[in-house]
Amino acid sequence: MAPTPRPAPPRNAAQLPPLADASGVLAGTARHSASRIFALFLFSAASAAAAVALPAALGRTLDLLLEDAAGVERALVLCAVLVAAEVLFDALEALVGGATSARTTAWLRRCGADHLLSVAPHRAADRFTPGDLVTRLTGNAAEAGTAPTTAAIGLASVLVPVGGLICLALIDLWLVVVFLAGIPLLALLLRGFARGSSHSVSQYQRVQADIAGRLLEALGGARTVAAAGTAERELARVLAPLSELSAQGRRMWQVYGRASVGSGILVPLLTTMVLAVGGVRLAGGSLSVGDLLAASRYAALAAGLGAVVGQLNSLLRSRAAARRIADMLALPAVRHGGRPLPADGPGRVELRSVTVSRGGAPVLRGVDLVVPGGTTMAVVGRSGAGKSTLAAIAGRLADPDDGVVLLDGVPLTEADPSELRREVGYAFERPVLFGETVGAAIGFGQYEPTAGEIGASARAAGADTFVRLLPGGYAAPLTDAPLSGGELQRLGLARAFAHAGRLLILDDATSSLDSITELHVGRALVHDVRTGTRLLIAHRVSSAARADLVAWVEDGRVRAVGPHASLWEEPDYRAVFADTVRDTGGS
């Protein structure tokens, strides 16, 4: 009976059947746990069958007992077996249902995480905020993951009210007539209770959002508030709507209370009505006491149709969640080739008529650029000129909409991905670090460098000194280390240096360094780091002056390429640097 354990599920999202819409995702979850779902349905159906059979058995046993008739023992055993079966199958349903939901959810999450890691980062960032992605992978995946379980249990649980109604009819037709007539009558009477519920909920949420908004305002102005010494005033201002929140909350409970009056009364009243008619039939000799017992149970079971509606609701929610997961899985995955890069290539980068648009606006327009192997090229230009996009294209963090990028003659789209990542390194303006410790954060990558290499890279990046000052040094937990922007940048640089291959791309990665450290890192980049070609996005004149070549980017085009000294003759070139006194282009 137990489903056979299967080898690890397919791990590669690219090989999966299409999961690009809600139905595809739900069908995928069903396929993934098909045998378990079938078993779950059988358990639920068995439990439902026991539940439907039990009242009749109880009624018959009661009659036999009251009449002291023969066969009581067998009837009692049947009751005991049915009760045991219901309890046992309920337990199995809880066990298999929970395990199946967990398994399906885990599968959805693996698909989602794998897919996320296979798309171009900017595509994910353009469509979803990080928080949104986390919601989709956690809450939404869990909700969609319960869909097969809910469907299997829901389908089986329809049997209970339907069976209850049929059994009620088998006992006495009048009972069903009363039951079916009673539902609309009572629903009409109780309708007045459940009114205005959604209004109070939305009012409550509005006030809640108001408080959250005020708090975020005050937190955003924390420096002003701290400097002005107005903390008390801010506290009062943020909490001002709290009394209204309380009032709206009370209204919600009132509405909810009235709604539960309705649902709480309906079933017992229906049962009592069935009992009354049954009692009259009993007095007339058409029914036994046992029939009456069974009838009252069947009325309660038949009234459980409302719970099935609840299951349906939960399926609809699962479907909505599945749609949100499908949105994420619909991001196109990056396609890779398998061509090796030529051994001992110098790291020559070539962009051929590269065009890139973002949000409909062109960022790079037909850029042709050659970075000769083994050289250092600085890319300069005003903010918004397309420098960072150029940096992303050059190492295949993004693909151009048109044109080709080649590394040592191999188009990046055809290159073997793992070799490409080993040969191309990146350092960023605001690196995100991973790992338990500071040392692990530097070693993070395709392979783990030795401790000696990590130390050497940190020295080259000017990070060694401050890392040694941290409690624990390289073993200091990353989360506890208070890092300034400059320190973060130096760790990001060290990470790139530790994994340096034939091309190193520094996207504004030294902007927060003081000029002495910057000079030191600039020298180390040329002399100490084993890399072929260096491409750096720069704001400082000194960085441009130290590079072999400067590519001057303006409005998405390369305006000129040449040594800094010759470009400096142009007033427009000089103006690029006189824009701000800070290195970053504003926030």
């Binding site: 890691l117 924390a222 909490l239 709290l242 009056v261 709480g264 009259v280 007095a283 390194g425 504003g586």
Partner: protein, 583 residues
Amino acid sequence: MTGSRLLPQALRFLGRRKRVLLKLTGWSLLESAHTFLGGYGVAMALDRGFLAGRTGTGLAWLAVAALAVVIGGLATGGVFRGLADLVEPLRDGLVRRVVTRSLDEALAEPALAADSAVVSRLTNQTEIARDSFAGLVLVARSFVFTSVGALFGLAALSPALLVVVVPPLVTGLLLFLATLAPMAARQHDFLCADEALAAQFGSVAQGLRDVVACGAGAPMAARTHVLIEQEAKAARSLARWASARSLSLGVAGHLPVVLLLVAAPWLRRQGVTAGALLGALTYLTQALLPALHHLMSTLGAAGTRLLVVLGRLSRVPGPRLAVPSPAGTPERPAQAPAHPDVPRVELRAVTFAYGAAAQPVLRGLEVTIEPGEHLAVVGPSGIGKSTLTCLLAGLLEPDEGEVRLHGRPAHAQAGRGAAPSRLRVLIPQQAYVFTGSLYENLLYLCPDGAPRSAVEASSEAVGLGTLVHRLGGFDAQVEPAALSHGERQLIALARAHVSPAPLVILDEATCHLDPAAEARAEQAFAERPGTLIVVAHRISSARRADRILVLDGLTAACGSHQELIDRSPLYRDLVGRWHAEKN
């Protein structure tokens, strides 16, 4: 565990609400009566009515039972009112706590500005606490009063029924109680695994670019898969316990039904009638079983969720608050310093580091800013310019050396309640504008208020006039989200301009203005009497100052534009004059 820490708080909370609890009990007793009559009415209807051939009496007893249903239902209204009196104050307290704590934390470390986790705590987690608490109260209360009604009913029909029903009921409940602690532990494990997983997803989502750039997709995926599997494992373990729980429901709820039938011959000999048997079975199946079912499914999950969330929301603030904050420092707030005169600002060998182990941001900084002087501060980002403004404003205390205003330490003059705005104002890059009238916003830094004409004059001077007109005058409501960064900065600038402070510190407070608007605003401050310190965003802004301070890591240089061109390589770099020096 969190439970032991929360218990005294919970008892105090309930102790203050004895009247509410009493009212809740009163309404709930009506529910007991409804349960009681539900079974008793059926028994009587059968024995005295239908079985005795008196149909009318039978129907009358059923009518009584139906009436009890209606009255019991109406009592629900009262129950929910009592529930609101219990649950709403809890939520109020949690909201107050979250707001106070996050404000405290933000003020202690403004650099770690607003994160969305606060919103989750404020909306999501307080709601989880509210809903779980309400669910617990409702279900536990309903179980207790339903059981009371049912047990009284059984006793009224025949005490012998209790002998059959009570032992399995108690055994099942004990079994359930025994599963409660391990179940809560599994639930806790599950929540922890869930959070670890969410954190991992968060770092993947946030650092996707870095993961891809490092070629670390495969190890990252492997690590994520491990955490996904751990969460699934915790979920499976929970499912096992849920399954065990349904067995205890079987013992407490289903077993008495079978036992009642097995014992029926003996009960009949004890004088239990057919109606009483039917009534007893009604109690068991219509009242006790559903109440038990609700109790068991709610207590495990909601109870643990409530414990975890309450534990998190009421967590003692971490060491972060130990950072010297202006709110906590001066024991006795100094008299509001009545210095109408313009201060001399002196930095004497100032060294400052964030934390003992961290590298100093400033070391041995020596500068004197004369009364009425206009100083610009420049340097690369992250080099310590904002830290310097915090030291000047007295929000931070130097580790070594002194920052003096009027010859007294700046730090001692910035306490809460001392209205520091009479002494100096600091306008950061992130302009603070709150939802309220424009006038309220502009008077934010005037502890003693200001005449309308002064507000108008300052607004005009910094170039806010157009915005005032567009918004519809000073009494118009301001929606911060509807304003551009530049417009918010103009409001903050006008607010600083109209304040009585003789020292104004602008920390890139004009970075979102265009050069012409920036020039106009700075001109307005230059003409305003007092000392002006500007952390400059553009070189044009620096050149308007009397002197310029260049921060470059641990070194600093101060002088006029020409002096610095000659002396400071960084300054040359920043103003784009590298080339001139190179040849």
